[in-house]
């Protein structure tokens, strides 16, 4: 451990930081006797936040940033002239353990550039996590990238040590992937995804028979798509994620707004700024699918292929379907209350629980924490009928809600004193 390691750490962190996933959720595991660490489940623990506001929960690092591939969107492509480095297994293991002991991190996120062959790379990654788990009895969180094209045996072995595994889809459609990364195809991505999924399903069966059977990727798998590097519409992206959620039991799909890392490449669009708003809207749409019982084709469809950047997708859905509103807070079922803009999952649960004790009115709702500015146009409660979206028309509601905030000057006259 010396300056050399610091230099490597910086280099490999810079190469790894474009991976979005950093969650430490999904597994509850208590420490074992004489071991180090546990995982808490729930929403996980984020230990720090970098200046871009993204959380640092895991030591997100690459084993090496040498790579044999030349993908246009990636900072580590072989034609890029950047500093390259490789960690030895021992160095990486010691860093993880020592950072963990100081409560800096929740575990390890291990990724790697591809050297020699997918299997060669994957095997080295497995050695790191194996040493952590078996030699150091590390019980913290481990997220491991599965290398596209790696063999089934290695993925099966990795799954016994990792909490979560991920294979990044990167580009939602095959044609565009071929354009930007001619050496890759979707098959090599879907294959390991399938292995992991089958392993998880098999493990569920095994654990029914043998309670002590070792767990296989207990926190499931996740993936990531780059947004804005190619010409996919939002409807294509959301359709892909909805299929992934349903068919591969994906726990999370991450969206990464494209940051022009290789701006010299003419196949990529020239962007002034990363599409951060679009990325945010996609996450909101993703939440609607996962927690609000929306289908992908309700959020975007052929006549409405892109998400509205000005208003959130839930409000946008409500304004396109004024006929379903107003919703009676005291009578409507949970699924319908969930669809009211300004009411989240927590608030909807609060409403359903509280109304069993008595009728709710607007002041109750406000105190519970509902955004009444949005919600008032879409609900009726225990009061006289108000000015709802039916009377006001969707256009008017949209105008009111998208007006820029006025500065609160309190009506104070400003007096200008002459010099």
């Amino acid at each position: 451990m010396n300056d050399n390691v610091l230099q490597k750490l910086k280099t490999l962190a810079k190469s790894a930081k474009y991976d979005v996933s950093c969650s430490s959720s999904g597994t509850v595991r208590q420490n074992s006797a004489g071991g180090l660490g546990n995982t808490v489940g729930g929403m996980g623990i984020c230990h720090s936040f970098s200046e871009d506001g993204r959380c640092i929960a895991l030591l997100k690092i690459m084993l090496t940033n040498y790579c044999i591939y030349d993908c246009a969107y990636c900072i580590n492509r072989r034609t890029n002239d950047i500093r390259r480095a490789t960690f030895t297994v021992d160095e990486l293991v010691e860093l993880t353990i020592e950072f963990y002991r100081r409560n800096y991190i929740e575990g390890l996120f291990l990724s790697s550039g591809i050297i020699h062959s997918p299997d060669y790379t994957m095997e080295r990654m497995v050695r790191v996590v194996k040493q952590l788990r078996e030699v150091h009895r590390f019980n913290g969180y481990i997220h491991m990238k599965s290398i596209p094209g790696a063999s089934r045996e290695l993925i099966d072995e990795a799954g016994l040590y990792a909490d979560r595994m991920s294979v990044n889809l990167e580009i939602p459609t095959e044609a565009n992937l071929k354009l930007l990364a001619p050496e890759k195809d979707h098959r090599s991505v879907y294959k390991p995804m399938k292995y992991i999924q089958q392993g998880v399903l098999q493990n569920i069966e095994d654990r029914k028979k043998f309670r002590k059977a070792p767990r296989f990727v207990p926190a499931g798998q996740s993936t990531q798509m780059i947004v804005g590097a190619t010409d996919e519409r939002d409807k294509d992206i959301l359709r892909v994620s909805s299929i992934l959620y349903q068919q591969t039991q994906m726990r999370r799909v991450y969206y990464s707004g494209y940051i022009p890392v290789n701006s010299y490449d003419k196949r990529l669009p020239t962007l002034k700024q990363a599409p951060l708003v679009r990325e945010n809207r996609l996450y909101q749409a993703d939440w609607l699918m996962r927690f609000y019982q929306y289908r992908a084709d309700e959020i975007v469809d052929d006549s409405y292929p892109d998400l509205d950047l000005e208003i959130d997708p839930k409000l946008s859905w409500a304004l396109r379907h004024p006929e379903t509103f107003p919703v009676d807070i005291n009578k409507a079922d949970y699924a319908m209350i969930l669809r009211v803009p300004g009411i989240g999952v927590k608030s909807a649960q609060f409403i359903v629980m509280s109304r069993r004790h008595g009728r709710l009115n607007a002041s109750h709702l406000k105190k519970i924490g509902i955004v009444m500015k949005k919600a008032q146009c879409f609900i009726t409660c225990n009061e006289l009928p108000t000015f709802t979206v039916q009377e006001a028309t969707p256009e008017y509601v949209r105008k009111v809600l998208t007006e820029p905030k006025k500065k609160a000057d309190g009506g104070q006259l400003s007096i200008i004193f002459p010099d």
Binding site: L9, C46, G53, R54
Partner: protein
């Protein structure tokens, strides 16, 4: 105006509830012994903490409330906010008086307030789990200083005991001048006679373990390299990691 004076302990509060029901009079105000009484004091009653009485209230509550709600009461007590004891008193009284559970009646101002305050406390506990930073001392004890808004150390100790079972550690609350020391077997409450020198939360370099400085540098270097310049958003960073924690964060020194 009827005022109950009690000794500002949880047991005292539960005794006050027992006494109120046996006297059939309920206080308009709860004060600690020695507090200045209000101007229009017509009647006062001195509560003497009693283990049996408080135990009976406790059993009654455990019978009537779910486990989650019992935890909520603990959180409320640990908040140490002004008026939180009166809120607790009102909440418990409503629980006892009501034939059905009031836990989910968020239209009731007290239930909602209790819920929200308890949530703030548990949020603070979560903050501590996130932002405690250990420094390794020369005698192999990992030391961390904190100064949480609410008295949340009792809520997070089990988490650290499980997680760092094979290392000795100390978490010390500089605001309330006490902490916990874990010696590989048990976790005990401890106080330092003089904690003035720890006010910054940093160990003196002479007390640090040999490699501590190096790992701090490594972590700082890593933290800096993780930022994506095109996405800088300092407001978001502060929102997730409020500035009041920065003085104890290794990476922010």
């Amino acid at each position: 105006m009827l005022v109950f004076f009690y000794d500002k302990t949880f047991e005292g509060l539960l005794t006050a509830i027992f006494d109120a029901y046996s006297r059939k009079t309920f206080p308009d105000k709860l004060l600690g012994v020695g507090d200045i009484p209000p101007l229009f004091l017509t009647e006062e009653y001195m509560v003497i903490s009693d283990e049996e009485k408080s135990g009976r209230v406790c059993t009654a509550l455990e019978k009537k409330m779910t486990k989650g709600a019992c935890n909520m009461l603990t959180h409320l007590w640990l908040s140490e906010e002004a008026g939180s004891d009166e809120l607790l008193f009102r909440y418990i009284r409503k629980t006892i008086d009501s034939p059905v559970s009031i836990e989910t009646n968020f239209a009731d101002a007290d239930v909602l307030e209790a819920h929200q305050l308890a949530r703030k406390v548990s949020h603070e506990a979560h903050f501590q789990k996130q932002f405690v930073r250990f420094q390794k001392a020369a005698d192999d004890i990992f030391f961390a200083a904190v100064s949480p808004r609410y008295n949340v150390l009792p809520l997070i100790i089990d988490h650290f005991k499980d997680r760092f079972a094979d290392q000795k550690w100390v978490i010390y609350d500089l605001k309330r001048h006490y902490g916990y020391y874990y010696d590989l077997q048990t976790c005990e409450e401890m106080t330092l006679d003089n904690d003035k020198h720890l006010l910054g939360g940093k160990l003196d370099e002479k007390l640090m373990a040999e490699d501590e400085k190096m790992f701090q540098e490594l972590w700082k270097g890593y933290f800096k390299s993780m930022t994506i310049k095109e996405r800088i958003n300092l407001k978001l960073q502060r929102q997730h990691m409020p500035k009041r924690f920065w003085k104890y964060l290794t990476e922010k020194q």
